[in-house]
């Protein structure tokens, strides 16, 4: 990082912003149009034999009504929101850790969620009290609690949020440890393994209006403050020392952004399971399109991530219709392919 002359860098960033301003507006519009198209397509594609037609849309019977408005629409909207939250988490993580490989799960939230779900399923199997307890909490609640606990553990292990490097290391340690505990528990209860597998592969199939509204609220709650904090992230791209010399209070910024990242990830994991690659790839997709400030990245990445997960969800329903693929498999294929392409292109430029 060249931190020799921050004011020159800042001016350069400013000029670049003006140049891409119109591009950015165009890009946002395109993103919104794509999202609208994908939502419309999501309403038309499903596993059941209901076929959309104009007459059907105008005067749907009770069944089509349920399928359209209570299954397909919350699923489409929920998938968008989940993708947007993951992408927002990814953009925050990549900015905060100044690492292009940072992703929303890097503080151990995914492994924590998996452990939470495993424990709740085993409690269900074990006793009547466990059944009542896990029924109250539900799979989504258990995943949320697990993710929060894992992130807390990571922060405790790294002794606060002062060192990004130790946070990353603690995150990796916690992820491996909790995965090991999960595997250990699954060994003693193979019945749970099958249900766990379904959760680990991620699924948008169970999104209801409840979960969609929850995701929407959390999305707004996470997006607004992170955009407000984006100046700090911009400063951080110049290096931690420079950011501090520019008057950014790093501990406060880190704490605030980590809280937002954790909330976004924990809620999403709870609702759709572990959907990989969206949070990692979406910010890259945006950044590869044009150079961009953190503020715009934080707006554009969710749009991109939302569209990405919607598209993946659509594909997962369409590829082996009338059956469905777990959406995590589709995002991993799409995201993985894109990352390989990115690597290949960089290698060629070098």
């Amino acid at each position: 990082m060249n931190a020799a002359n921050p004011s020159v860098r800042r001016e350069a960033v400013g000029r670049r912003d003006e140049v891409v301003s119109s591009h950015f507006a165009l890009w946002l519009t395109a993103g919104i149009v794509v999202t609208a198209l994908l939502t419309a397509a999501s309403l038309l594609v499903g596993t059941s034999s209901i076929r959309a037609s104009v007459g059907w849309l105008l005067a749907p019977d009770a069944l089509s009504n349920t399928v359209l408005w209570h299954i397909r629409l919350p699923r489409a909207v929920g998938a968008w929101l989940a993708g947007a939250l993951l992408a927002l988490g990814g953009a925050i993580a990549q900015g905060l850790f100044r690492n292009p490989l940072a992703e929303p799960y890097l503080l151990g939230s995914a492994s924590g969620a998996a452990l939470g779900v495993t424990v709740s399923m085993m409690a269900t199997d074990a006793s009547l009290a466990g059944l009542a307890w896990s029924g109250e909490l539900g799979v989504t609640g258990a995943a949320f609690v697990g993710a929060c606990a894992a992130i807390t553990l990571t922060v405790l292990l790294s002794r606060g949020v002062l060192q990004t490097a130790s946070l990353l290391l603690a995150g990796i340690v916690v992820a491996f440890l909790l995965s090991a505990v999960t595997s250990l528990l699954l060994l003693s209860s193979p019945d749970t393994w099958r249900a766990m597998q379904a959760f680990l592969l991620g699924s948008t199939a169970f999104l209801s209006w409840h979960s969609t509204i929850l995701l929407a609220v959390v999305f707004v709650v996470c997006l607004v403050p992170s955009v407000l904090l984006s100046r700090g992230l911009d400063a951080l791209t110049l290096g931690e020392d420079t950011a501090q010399s520019l008057g950014v209070s790093l501990p406060a910024l880190r704490l605030a952004l980590l809280t937002l990242l954790s909330l976004a990830t924990a809620i999403t994991v709870g609702q759709v399971g572990i959907v990989g690659f969206v949070g990692l790839v979406a910010p890259h997709l945006v950044r590869e399109s044009f150079h961009i400030s953190q503020r715009r990245l934080l707006v554009a990445a969710p749009l991109c991530g939302g569209a990405l997960l919607q598209a993946a969800d659509l594909l997962s329903r369409w590829v082996i219709r009338p059956a469905e693929l777990p959406v995590g498999i589709v995002t991993a294929c799409l995201g993985g392919t894109y990352l390989v392409y990115l690597l290949w292109r960089r290698a060629r430029h070098a």
């Binding site: 499903g46 596993t47 059941s48 034999s49 209901i50 069944l63 349920t66 399928v67 209570h70 299954i71 397909r72 399923m121 269900t124 199997d125 074990a126 006793s127 009547l128 009290a129 059944l131 009542a132 896990s134 029924g135 539900g138 799979v139 060994l187 003693s188 209860s189 193979p190 099958r194 249900a195 597998q197 379904a198 959760f199 699924s203 199939a205 169970f206 209801s208 409840h210 009338p322 059956a323 469905e324 777990p326």
Partner: protein
């Protein structure tokens, strides 16, 4: 050994017994409500409590049913109500007629939209929180029937019979299953002539074994076989292959796929069962009857008994 197991997992058993007690009580209530009718025509309101303590209320006996577990599909069909099924899970394959029905995914990744579009009166499934919650959310009645061990089979048959409005048929089916099981066990014990082979049942080449606590373990125990795995290891422990070599089973029971290569595993050529070719291999169709705690349990027992009679030392 059986007594020891019962004590070891007493709290669990108590829990299951309590909740199944509830469902049986509710079943009885439903039975009283419809007892003056002939078995096939029961059509009064049905109120039952399922294994998850959730109340199921139906105005009439359900005519459109979705099952999300093979043993439950088999139970519905064994009760003579296969024609009421409108979809099953993707693994249900018996009786053959259910193969033509729409497949609504698996228990944990059930296809909600397909199920809703079939307008079922009730979905009968095992515990799967996400699916159950979503279906209820969409106004679909669900009934959770957990079948983990041998004793659960008759409870599940009674509960499903209650849901279908055919409690008398469920009693008859339970008697039939009991009789068939007792006959199979009696015949096996005669043919085995007091032989009590030391067995290893491999569920998966992990190798995962079927422990005495598992349903398969219970079947083996009924036939007088001794399991190389102790009940302290849990229902399906993942073993160190060395463990099997050290315990030197007289008979190995596994899938046909693994049967030919089991002797190639390091050190396994020294196992008595391998040396003397005392190996029971089961085709997937036969295996289904052994691993599914359902109405075909006697068939599964006979499959194991036939092989043990043939190969046990």
């Amino acid at each position: 050994m059986a007594v020891f197991q019962a004590e070891a997992s007493a709290p669990t058993r108590l829990g299951i017994a309590l909740m199944l007690g509830f469902s049986i009580l509710s079943c009885a209530a439903a039975a009283i409500g419809v007892s003056d009718r002939t078995p096939p025509a029961a059509d009064g309101p049905i109120v039952l409590r399922d294994s998850a303590q959730h109340e199921l209320r139906l105005e009439h006996a359900p005519q459109r049913i979705v099952t999300l577990l093979p043993s439950l599909t088999e139970t519905v069909c064994a009760l003579g109500d296969c024609s009421r099924l409108v979809a099953t899970d993707r693994f249900s394959n018996w009786p053959a007629s259910v193969m033509d029905l729409p497949k609504a995914g698996g228990l944990d990744d059930a296809e909600i939209e397909l199920i809703v579009s079939l307008k079922p009166d009730v979905v009968i499934l095992a515990h799967a929180a996400r699916v159950t919650d979503r279906l209820r959310d969409l106004g679909i009645a669900t009934f959770v029937a957990e079948t983990r061990n041998f004793a659960d089979i008759s409870r599940t048959v009674a509960a499903v019979g209650g849901v279908l409005g055919v409690p008398e048929r469920a009693q008859i089916l339970n008697r039939d299953i009991d009789r068939a099981v007792n006959e199979a066990v009696a015949a096996a014990l005669i043919h085995l002539h007091g032989r009590s082979p030391l067995v290893y049942y491999e569920v998966d080449s992990g190798p995962y074994a079927a422990g005495p606590q598992s349903f398969i373990g219970e079947l083996l125990a009924r036939l007088g076989a001794r399991n190389i795995v102790g009940s302290e290891l849990g229902p399906f422990p993942k073993l160190n292959p060395e463990y099997v070599v050290r315990h030197n089973p007289d008979v190995i029971l596994l899938s046909t796929k693994e049967a030919n290569t089991v002797g190639n595993r390091p050190g396994w050529e020294r196992i008595r069962a391998v040396q003397e070719q005392r190996i029971c291999s089961f085709d997937p169709q036969v295996s289904d009857t052994i691993v599914r705690p359902g109405p075909r349990v006697a068939e599964g027992l006979r499959a194991i008994a036939d092989c043990l009679t043939r190969v046990a030392p």
